[in-house]
Symmetry: C2
């Protein structure tokens, strides 16, 4: 994939401008994409008959598009089939912050809200390529190690694609921040870090003898930060071929 | 708080029925509340001018109500001030599942979608009590250890309350589940656990000498699962007084 233009940014308007604590807002591609690529779980908001729904989903980014999937039977996918506004949000929860007064209790976090019109991929070829990246984005090269997908399986899976039209990142990373006069009080305050980490892999109990864990899963090591492994896998999955490939499975 | 009636369940209709993989759906209060109380970060979907927004927020549950907060300046709070439909979703992300074909790659998770009409708390007394629980739900007894909130601080904070009208929990907890014939293939498959854990507390660098970490933070120990500490704190925070207190700060 072509490297991000470091000066590129998402346009800002009333929809995505960070209003509360606007000093925490970022709109540049580099910041937004870095936070997206360090995650695989997002929450998608969409509207059905005027009612809001918030659905967790595995997702991935390629260029300025987001992709996610689900069964063709799900409520979300039927709603988005014709193209519908959506907001996909990713949150890295970094700490709880215990201050000297209730008002300054807080949390450190890094989040992205991405807005656009979500659409079903319909071309079988675009869908096939997306289903490869759905796996290979997490585990680069894995699809080539698997039993090939059947036509029935590809038909039973739907893939949603959304070009990011607006996005904002919001970052709080300052730990305890009390009123100046409150530092003189004999009250304990702390930043309590939260870590999302990889555990010990549990091989399938029905694995055949002699089948070893492939080297391409080596980044997923016990105790490692999940976001580090995800960011590394994303970079490897989209490392090449260099030019134009980033839109190879995007439909016109 | 009165113990949950173990037979109680949220009503099921078109809005909250789990459609995809409906064998994963649960509607009983016990399951829904257990998953909510083991979390403090939720994602709220709401609608502004027909556009969906998905906002991360700290929240807590008391009885069949959810509460969350934010600055009076935020987009979400201004939208919800008059009462607006919302969906608050909580997701516990438990594993990535690597199967023998792309189609069966999956994740173990436990999620709740809670639907209702979100409203601003307006009574100063209801708000004051909610602001106590916002802190004490995480750190039981902490408010009594803090500098008291000022009128200005209470005014600058808004609290949203939403009675849960519909809810569904969805749980996948089965690890690798391949097609029967695929188990004969020499392909590595595994469940890769994901853990969200507490790190080493970082005392405020400006803490006064002799100020020790209070005993009521003892549940937040390095390496412990965040959800265990949160569930324990929630149970302690709402342990007493026994009767009727659970709605003490809910407005009529």
């Amino acid at each position: 994939m072509a490297a991000d233009d470091v000066s590129a940014a998402y346009p800002v308007d009333a929809r995505n401008r960070v209003r509360r604590r606007h000093d925490r807002g970022h709109y540049d591609h580099a910041t937004v994409h870095r936070l997206l690529d360090a995650a695989c779980l997002g929450h998608v908001a969409y509207v059905v008959d005027g009612w809001p729904y918030c659905t967790p989903t595995l997702f991935w980014r390629q260029d300025t598009r987001l992709y996610w999937h689900g069964s063709s039977a799900s409520r979300m996918l039927r709603t988005l089939a014709d193209g519908a506004p959506a907001c996909l949000t990713v949150t890295h929860f970094d700490s709880l912050v215990l201050a000297r007064c209730g008002f300054n209790h807080s949390a450190d976090y890094r989040s992205v809200m991405a807005f656009g019109t979500a659409r079903l991929l319909t071309s079988p070829e675009a869908k096939r390529r997306a289903l490869v990246m759905m796996v290979d984005r997490l585990f680069p090269g894995r699809t080539a190690q698997l039993r090939a997908s059947t036509t029935r399986e590809i038909r039973a899976t739907s893939v949603i694609s959304m070009t990011i039209e607006r996005a904002s990142a919001k970052i709080r990373a300052k730990g305890v921040a009390d009123e100046e006069e409150d530092y003189a009080l004999p009250i304990h305050a702390e930043r309590l870090p939260i870590h999302t980490v990889i555990g010990t892999p549990e091989p399938c109990p029905r694995s055949l003898p002699g089948v070893a864990r492939p080297a391409n899963l080596g980044g997923y090591r016990p105790g490692r930060a999940l976001e580090t492994a995800l960011a590394e896998a994303h970079a490897a999955a989209f490392a090449g071929p260099p030019d134009g490939a980033e839109t190879a499975y995007a439909e016109a």
